[in-house]
Amino acid sequence: MAGAEQRRFRLFRGTREGGELKEYQVAAGEGWVVLDAVHAIQAEQAPDLAVRWNCKAGKCGSCSAEINGKPRLMCMTRMSDYPADEPITVMPMKAFPVIKDLVTDVSWNYEVAKRIPAFQPRAPDNADGTWRMYQYEVERPQEFRKCIECFLCQDVCHVLRTHGKHDAFMGPAMLVRAAVYEMHPLDKAERHEHLRREGGIGYCNITKCCTEVCPESITITDNAIIPLKERVVDAHYDPLAALWRRLTAR
């Protein structure tokens, strides 16, 4: 292959029961990303090497893994960003149970998403059943809709990763999902109680690790989580605001 260079990889091979890092050599082409190398290893050396991927363009969020210890998308990580004489280590996401090799069981996220109260639009503004919304209004929730559900923010969040509080905290990705509707100009559903109790929003102590790993550069902590925390606090701990809401039936 033109411009090919020998590169070393250490990939996690194993199952729920355990596993180990295995070393592979691969002739890497120009401009390769880590996923290209993993595919080459799969095609030529280890056809049963398990890896998730779909779009290979950073749009589907399937190929999440930990590359040299950092949560990243394999398809958007160029090999030229790493020293050529050192092996690149790829591990599955740590915050979720391993299924096999680089594939983890992320089904918990889908269960959490299911329980977030659904979008509920206000009555249409116009007789033809449509609404008017302005660009400045939609831009705020549009930032959260960039989320590709790669779950890298869940992976890096210490509440889930280190403390395993999956039963008490929904995690940054799901807070972003709730924020889409909370900040949707048309939505009128009530989610504060859900975020406070089942969502465990109080567990987030705004270390901003999630924002740092987001491949879509969503400002998760500042734009999604902190405003949600403020709303929850306003609703539950500010008696004046609560009274005002009751009086104005908002």
């Binding site: 401009g31 589907c60 299924i99 096999k100 992320v106 302005y134």
Partner: protein, 598 residues
């Protein structure tokens, strides 16, 4: 293979595929109180629809009030080179606006016009600004909205589950057998109505914008079940895929770049599209750079659209010719330049994911430099032959919708017509599948057992060939002989080489366990790939003319006698039978509309 290996579910409707079409169908069937299973090959929300960038075409008339369904219908027919199923094109144009507004009611956040309505952008082949969009990630928005709607509608979702066979009894669909990737265990769905929404076949080519999933499973399942396939020769090669670096070759560059003013230039810096104006579109497009630039700046009443916004078949062929005649870039593409036409702020706002994609993958800043692009396999217009009103195939109870359905787009699909197609016909398929519910006919366990044994056969072939090698060989055959320019000799070569690959595919061997084993998955996908590749090659050989996306160097002209003739493919015994069938003519009023304008 004990019976305990098999889980069985009973549903009213089983939808296979969870992209836009599958989700919309499942939501509709569920709204009709049917018990619905949604089965998908990947995780929910990862389907190829997320890759759709530019937008969904619907004649809302929000940006240009002159637009209406008649103009959209006319554009679709002309873009499809008059080969479309006219009734589908009509239904699509009429219902798309309602489907877009409905998506907004479900929570979609489309970009807005200054007066607060859904904004619409210009796109190739559309007379007016017509694409409802969200920056350049419209498909992702659609998937997420439908995903949330579906989840809250209480759909049963079976993720990472691949269907390997449909069961048909006395011409009626009765069930589907699949396996879960995670465990490698089988699952049987018994249902009287099944909707195929499995997408396309792009993985049969080397250079493609499509993911691993796009192996033509639905096309192959339908074919094996006795349904008819049409138009398989019409494969869309999108004009703008990335060409450099090699690892990213084929990844899509949205047509939105041209919609927002991007221009195509050859290595000499010439804006070549002015030289490639087809007779059919003469007078509809700008004739000078000054006129095209004025249009991009917003003076749309007095000026005509830039020729970069010609239909995809035309642009792809023009690029291919520029490269073949030595005017390509060093990496074998041409330049797509928006940096010299729009400000960096505008580009980043309208095309954020393109900016990101080139920066990350090619180290190119598209607000400063031109992109290098070339054609990439993108979409198959052909698919399962369906009834225009219901999306039901020629097998009772079996429906096909979205890319796996055939007819709507004729010989070439307009950009933006896919997302609206998914919604319009997804809803219709769900509605009619729910109406078709009823106890499915039963079929013998022995058939199920035999199918499972057959699926597991690669594990028995110790020392057999690696399935990835066979897949790569198949992609090379199709790229070389059934690509953007075809001829008789090449297509015959493809057919004979595919015959050889069939033998190799039967003998591939797998190591390791059944749990999440991509080698095994590839071995099974190969069976679908071989069927759709053969169908494409046979149909392409049969169509002795050039039309839309199908270009024969030995028959370079369109032949009006073949315009409304369809190549139909059907399984007969062990043989793939090919025949021609005349499509019903357009009603006089619609014909007049297409010829004389709306």
């Amino acid at each position: 293979m004990a019976a305990s290996d098999l889980r069985t579910h009973h549903y009213d409707v089983v939808v296979i595929g969870a992209g836009g079409a599958g989700l919309r169908a499942a939501i509709e069937a569920s709204a009709q109180q049917a018990k619905v299973a949604l089965v998908c090959k990947s995780l929910l929300g990862k389907a190829h629809t997320v890759m759709a960038e530019g937008g969904a075409a619907a004649a809302l008339g929000n940006v240009m009030g002159e637009d209406n369904w008649r103009v959209h219908f006319r554009d679709t027919m002309r873009g499809g080179k008059m080969h479309n199923n006219w009734r589908m094109a009509q239904i699509h144009a009429q219902e798309a606006p309602d489907r877009i507004r409905e998506l907004e009611a479900w929570g979609a956040l489309f970009d807005r016009t200054p007066d607060g309505r859904i904004n619409q952008r210009p796109f190739g082949g559309h007379t007016y600004s017509r694409l409802a969009h969200v920056g350049d990630r419209t498909g992702l928005e659609m998937i997420r909205v439908l995903q949330d709607k579906g989840v809250h509608a209480g759909l049963d979702v079976h993720m990472e589950c691949t269907i390997v066979r449909l069961f048909v009894v006395g011409g009626r669909v009765a069930g589907a057998l699949g396996y879960f990737r995670e465990t490698g265990r089988f699952v049987l769905f018994r249902a009287g109505a099944i909707v195929l929404a499995t997408g396309g076949i792009g993985k049969a080519w080397q250079i493609t914008s499509n993911s691993w999933e796009y192996t033509g499973d639905g096309h192959a399942l339908a074919y094996e079940a006795g349904a008819e396939l049409i138009d398989m020769e019409f494969v869309q090669f999108h004009p703008t895929g990335m060409v450099w670096p090699p690892g990213v070759r084929g990844i899509l560059v949205t047509e939105g770049v041209r919609g927002e003013g991007g221009v195509l230039k050859n290595a000499a810096g010439e804006r070549f599209m002015f030289r490639y104006m087809p007779e059919m579109f003469k007078g509809d497009f700008a004739e000078s750079e000054a006129e095209a630039d004025a249009w991009v700046k917003g003076e749309r009443k007095k000026n005509r659209r830039p020729p970069e916004l010609l239909t995809r078949d035309v642009v792809s062929k023009a690029i291919t010719r520029e490269i073949a005649e030595g005017r390509g870039t060093p990496h074998g593409g041409v330049f797509l330049d928006i940096a010299s036409k729009q400000s960096p702020e505008y580009i980043k706002q309208k095309l954020p994911s393109m900016y990101h994609q080139f920066k990350e993958l090619a180290h190119i800043d598209i607000t400063k430099d031109a992109m290098e692009i070339g054609p990439t396999t993108h979409y198959v217009m052909g698919g399962v032959k369906v009834d225009a009103e219901t999306q039901e195939s020629t097998v009772s109870g079996l429906f096909a919708v979205g890319e796996v359905g055939g007819g709507m787009h004729g010989a070439n699909r307009l950009g933006g017509n896919s997302l609206s197609d998914l919604l319009v016909f997804g809803r219709r398929a769900g509605l009619h599948a729910a109406a078709k519910r009823g106890p499915p006919p039963s079929f013998p366990d022995a058939e199920v057992e035999a199918t499972m044994r057959d699926a597991l056969a690669p594990f028995e072939h110790e020392g057999g060939e690696n399935p990835f090698g066979v897949q790569a060989a198949l992609q090379a055959v199709m790229q070389r002989n059934a690509g953007i320019i075809r001829d008789q000799k090449g297509l015959e070569t493809a057919l004979s080489e595919l015959e050889g690959l069939k033998g190799r595919a039967r003998k591939v061997g797998i190591t390791g366990s059944r749990e999440y084993n991509p080698g095994w998955h590839t071995a099974i996908d190969l069976r679908s790939l071989l069927i759709v590749s053969e169908a494409t090659a046979r149909a392409a050989l049969e169509r002795t003319e050039s039309r839309g996306a199908h270009t024969r160097s030995d028959y370079p002209d369109s032949d009006e006698r073949q315009a409304r003739e369809q190549i139909v493919i059907k399984k007969e015994g062990d043989r793939m039978a090919v025949r021609r069938e005349a499509q019903p003519p357009l009603p006089a009023d619609l014909m007049k509309l297409v010829k004389e304008g709306a």
